[in-house]
């Protein structure tokens, strides 16, 4: 059993699968941190369940990456587990939005809302992928993310249009998260190749629909869309915030210190 960091042969297909898998795993892990800490039992279960859906989606995507990655030296192949547990910060390809620390319940909900409003139409569009396996993952994931979007939308409205305190916290959460939303719609040469083959869609086509969904919910929540157009980026190429390292240290501690441990 290897315990040191793996190398990954990032062909465009592998890179694409890892990016989507990393988004789901890291955000799913962040939600798992809420387990036992949410304001009420119902919300505790809701956040843990959304996290579970995301980690399930991550597994399907890592399995796909493993299938598509050319064999390493000696015929050794990466697996779901080696991708998750034996890559370092710089090898993670997730959106910065997904790794941001939880903060209060309002920020957790707002982060999930901004992401779900993007990923749900994204997977819906990906159901038409020319790649049968990606289309199958998209079909499965979209049903779950539709539910996440509804759940978080209701909370954004309830808290935004709630007390002055809950309103201010939601507005602060939105201001804090806003500059991390642009990265969702970025594309690069590797993805452009896959787009040309009809395997994936161009995420930027989701932008206007996303903006409309967000605006509609924020209006009902009496929240104001931030004006700043400047957007953070870097996660897709492995340039992360300081927060991801701490997250991985916790998540990877066991497999790295107890090589070969099994359940």
């Amino acid at each position: 059993m290897v315990t040191n960091t793996i190398s990954v042969s990032e062909t465009p297909q592998v890179l694409y699968a890892l990016r989507r898998a990393d988004d789901a795993l890291i955000l799913g892990h962040r939600l798992s941190e809420c387990c036992g800490h949410a304001p009420t039992l119902e919300e505790d279960m809701a956040l843990a369940n959304i996290g579970l859906d995301l980690i399930g989606q991550a597994r399907a995507l890592y399995a796909l990456a493993a299938l598509r990655e050319p064999s390493l030296e000696g015929g050794r192949a990466n697996t779901e587990d080696t991708y998750a547990y034996l890559r370092d910060v710089g090898q993670y390809r997730n959106l910065l939005l997904c790794e941001l620390p939880n903060g209060d319940f309002g920020r957790i909900i707002m982060r999930q809302f901004l992401y779900s409003a993007f990923i749900d139409p994204y997977w819906r569009a990906m159901m038409k992928s020319s790649d049968a396996q990606l289309a199958a993952i998209a079909e499965k994931a979209e049903k779950e993310t539709a539910y996440h979007l509804r759940y978080t939308s209701e909370w954004v409205i309830r808290l935004g249009d709630g007390t002055p305190k809950s309103h201010d916290r939601m507005q602060a959460a939105l201001e804090f998260l806003w500059s991390y939303t642009g990265e969702m719609f970025d594309t690069d040469e590797a993805e452009a190749m896959l787009q040309a083959e009809g395997m994936i869609i161009d995420a930027s086509v989701i932008h206007d629909g996303w903006r409309t969904t967000v605006q509609t919910i924020l209006d009902r929540a009496t929240l104001t869309l931030p004006q700043s157009a400047w957007m953070q980026k870097g996660g897709r190429s492995g340039r992360h915030s300081e927060h991801l390292g701490f997250l991985l240290a916790e998540m990877q501690q066991l497999p790295r210190s107890e090589p070969g441990a099994v359940w």
Binding site: E42, I55, A136, E139, K143, Y147, Y151
Partner: protein, 166 residues
């Protein structure tokens, strides 16, 4: 010698053995009732069982796989594979009518047809599995497992699980 007839007989034995495999979280439902048993094929004496998860992260999948393997081994069937497929994705429409009745008798409101999609805040009418009243309200989107939501009957005041539709 393996013939199409022996394959057909073996398939019947497999289906019979799988009748004993239930969902670990809803033990009144067999995997066939629930619609997660997608396909059973037998070719030249080799059995291929295909299942599909209800939710991507369903923690019961590993256990269901193990239960299938145990049931087949117990029935004396040795040469088999259990595969998982994601497509076509499971929806609550895959739940059999027998399964819906069993759920109701067990105290879980079965999913309402076609309530999964629709508008962002689509409303759905759910009948109380205890008293049948449709004067019910949702307490939480997520219930005791990832496939259920928590509801309450406004008539008899009993809380109940609703099998989430999607």
């Amino acid at each position: 010698m393996v013939t199409p007839q022996t394959d057909a007989l073996l398939r019947t034995r497999v289906l019979h053995a799988l009748d004993d495999v239930t969902d670990p979280e809803i033990p009144v439902l067999t995997i066939a009732d629930l619609g997660i048993l997608r396909d059973v094929r037998v070719h030249n004496g080799v059995v291929d069982v295909t299942i599909t998860p209800t939710y991507s992260g369903c923690p019961a999948m590993n256990m269901i796989t193990l239960d299938i393997e145990t049931a087949l081994a117990r029935a004396g069937i040795e040469n088999f594979h259990v595969n998982t497929t994601l497509s076509p994705a499971w929806t609550t429409a895959w739940l059999s009518e027998a399964g819906r009745q069993k759920l109701l008798a067990y105290g879980i409101a079965p999913p309402q047809e076609g309530s999964g999609r629709g508008s962002l805040f689509g409303t759905v009418e759910v009948a109380c599995p205890q008293c049948g009243s449709t004067d019910t309200s949702r307490l939480a989107e997520f219930g005791s497992t990832s496939c259920k939501a928590l509801w309450r009957c406004n008539t008899c005041r009993e809380p109940f699980d609703y099998f989430r539709c999607h």
